[in-house]
């Protein structure tokens, strides 16, 4: 039995006093306020995310073409037509390459940056601020910036390589060779997504106690051994999240290939095809099906990555 004072100075009732809730129905006992406050956000999510997602799933089984009305159930027709389309199959392969290159490079670079930034040094905050800049830039802007670098006629890279006598004549980096084109485009996206990967991994590394490294050092561990046996295992939650964000970004890559390589099948991504199918061909049914496909692939691969990489870490 205590009598206290709240932070606002209100006198609280002794604990044995009859509760005002006693004797009320269960409906009256529910505190409506929290539900009322959270409802707008819940509605927002339901109306703008879940309902469209549900409609996408349903509509992907319908023929939805404003040029050929009315909408009609088509079973797996949209999916069949998509897989029969060479351009779609090629773009699926391209997107898989974007994913492999992008996730691998951004993760390796992210770990490298995170490890470099793990220790405090003069100007560290400035380095982090500069590091994050590419992440803040829109993909289209990055595509335009890198056009000036990759351009085969007047690009910076050709100019620099020629100046250093590393090449005799200007090379075509984009559009000629499929693998080179995809790699060159993915470099641009890696430049964009690596900062976030680095920060996510860095956040995980910030929790690693210094004592672990000190003990390892005293036990005669080399820096490489410390990295392999302490840093990497303890950074796994951060690495897993970084890989998933890279995975989502690369599976949905649009701006960079569109700006740097147009619609050429050499490097067109699956999201570019979704745009063409939906808004140029005005075949929304196939567009929904393609979107659903991307979502399912993203979900499955993300779950796989999390299962493979993520481990609960306790210190």
């Amino acid at each position: 039995m205590t009598v206290g004072t709240t932070a606002l100075g209100e006198r609280t009732e002794p604990s044995h006093s009859p509760s005002p809730r006693r004797g009320r129905t269960w409906i009256q006992r529910i505190d409506v306020l929290p539900y009322a406050l959270v409802t707008p956000l819940a509605l927002f999510i339901v109306l703008l995310a879940l309902v469209p997602a549900g409609m996408t799933i349903v509509q992907s089984f319908y023929r939805v073409q404003p040029l050929d009305p009315p909408n009609r159930f088509d079973g797996f027709g949209n999916f069949r037509r998509l897989f029969a389309d060479t351009a779609i199959r090629t773009s699926l392969e391209n997107t898989a390459l974007y994913m492999v290159v992008g996730v691998a490079l951004s993760t390796v670079l992210g770990i490298a940056f995170a490890v470099t930034l793990q220790r405090r040094f003069f100007g560290r905050s400035l380095v982090i601020a500069v590091l994050i800049l590419p992440w803040a830039l829109p993909g289209v802007v990055e595509g335009l910036v890198w056009t000036g670098i990759w351009d085969a006629n007047t690009g910076l890279l050709n100019s620099v390589l020629t100046s250093f006598h590393l090449i005799n004549h200007y090379h075509v980096f984009l559009g000629q060779n499929r693998l080179l084109t995809i790699f060159a485009i993915e470099i641009v996206q890696v430049w964009q997504i690596t900062p976030l990967s680095a920060l996510l991994i860095l956040a995980a590394l910030q929790n690693v106690p210094d004592e672990l490294y000190e003990s390892a050092h005293l036990d005669g561990c080399s820096p490489w051994a410390s990295f392999r046996r302490i840093t990497l295992p303890l950074a796994r939650p951060g690495i897993a999240i970084a890989m998933v964000q890279a995975l989502i970004a690369t599976l949905n890559v649009f701006d960079q290939p569109y700006v740097l390589n147009g619609a050429a099948p050499t490097a067109a991504s699956i999201t570019e095809q979704t745009y063409f199918v939906s808004f140029q061909n005005l075949d929304f049914g196939e567009g929904y099906a393609l979107s659903l496909l991307i979502t399912v692939v993203t979900l499955v691969v993300s779950i796989g990555v999390v299962g493979l990489i993520y481990r609960q870490v306790e210190y």
Partner: protein, 439 residues
Amino acid sequence: MTSIRSVRAAAAGICVLTVAVAGCSGGGSKASTKTSGVTITVALATPPPPKAALAAFTKQTGIKVNWTNIDWDSLQTKIAAAATAKTYFADATDVDWSRVGQLAKLNWFYPMESYVDTKALAKQMPQLSSFTNGGHVIGIPYDASFLVTTVNKNLFAKAGITTMPKTIAQYTDDLKQIKAKGVVQYPLNIPFAAAEGLSTYWYQTTAAFGGPILDGSGKPQFTSPSSPGYKAAEWMVDAIKQGLVPPGNINVADTQGQQTLMAKGNVASTFGDYSGNVGSLYDVPSSSSVVNQVEYLPTPGVNGVGPNMSNPDGIGIPRQAKYPNAAAKFIQWFTQAGNQADFAGANGPSKVMPGYFLPSQLAGLAELTQKGKLIGGAELAHLLKTSAKPVFPQGAPSWYPEFSRAVYTNLHAAATGSMSVGAAIKAIADQANSLASGS
């Protein structure tokens, strides 16, 4: 406490209801015939006219204009999304010449003949036919863009060429001569990037070789090796194989090539250039190193001067417009000859609409030329009157975007050497046949 809690809960509940009602309410609206005291939204992929001009329009009509400048691709997406969802997004917006067939079939825009005397306008606007489909005018062209050959006369002169070519054979020989004499390594600019600019370049080259792309029913007219379309594709691909076009152009888009190659004197000619580029790009010292060197050339055709393909920008009224009559008034004002001349700089820089160069009305073009404000104005006016033709005389087919993508992806592939010209033409023709038959 309970009453305070009840009041807070009630207030929160009202907020929730408001949000829910706002979120669930349909975007559709009933069109109003009001033409004054209203605000209309105009969405175009271009900066607005000067504030003073818009203010004058408001004073004159009582219609306020909310101008939204959206990039072309996003604008097409918005038009499609809004029309499909039957939702309002603008009272007047872009009608691209290439989408006229599609838009007409979809019935997404009001017929302009219901609002404007289009028959009278046709005499002053040669390109109005590009916006007509099935007897309906889907939009009104607000500029007079068409494809035109540009040459750097200084580079031609350096190679000893003083008489400009009149046929495509002479033109090709001249380009070879420029290369042979080492004036420039690559004399010709063809934008081989897989983008719309490559398709329009091919249409222009096909026209120069003397033929159409499709017949009235949408059947391809370019499958035979002796057809103009086939020859045009062969000429373009040969040009890059023979070193007349920079190898890097396989990934250069139209504007990029104009800015980084033609405007810098790296090439001597662009066969399918933009009308207006001499005044707006090549003669602008800040963006060009070939000031006063580039001029327009009547299209070198097979047996003399060939046609120029029209690709004007138009403006129309979407079906979900809130104030279609007010929008029509705006379109009439926006496409008036005098205003167009003002926007293009006939009466001083304060009246200029950024990025606007060529009036769609001949009277506007005449005023501009008369006042000496349009570089190459006399040539352009002549070309517009005599040789500017629609790419598809029967109107662009409803499946044009798919067809165009087949054109530019396959011609791009032929330029990279990953497929032959014959195979590229066959792929384009197969797609056209499939689309025309509706399969």
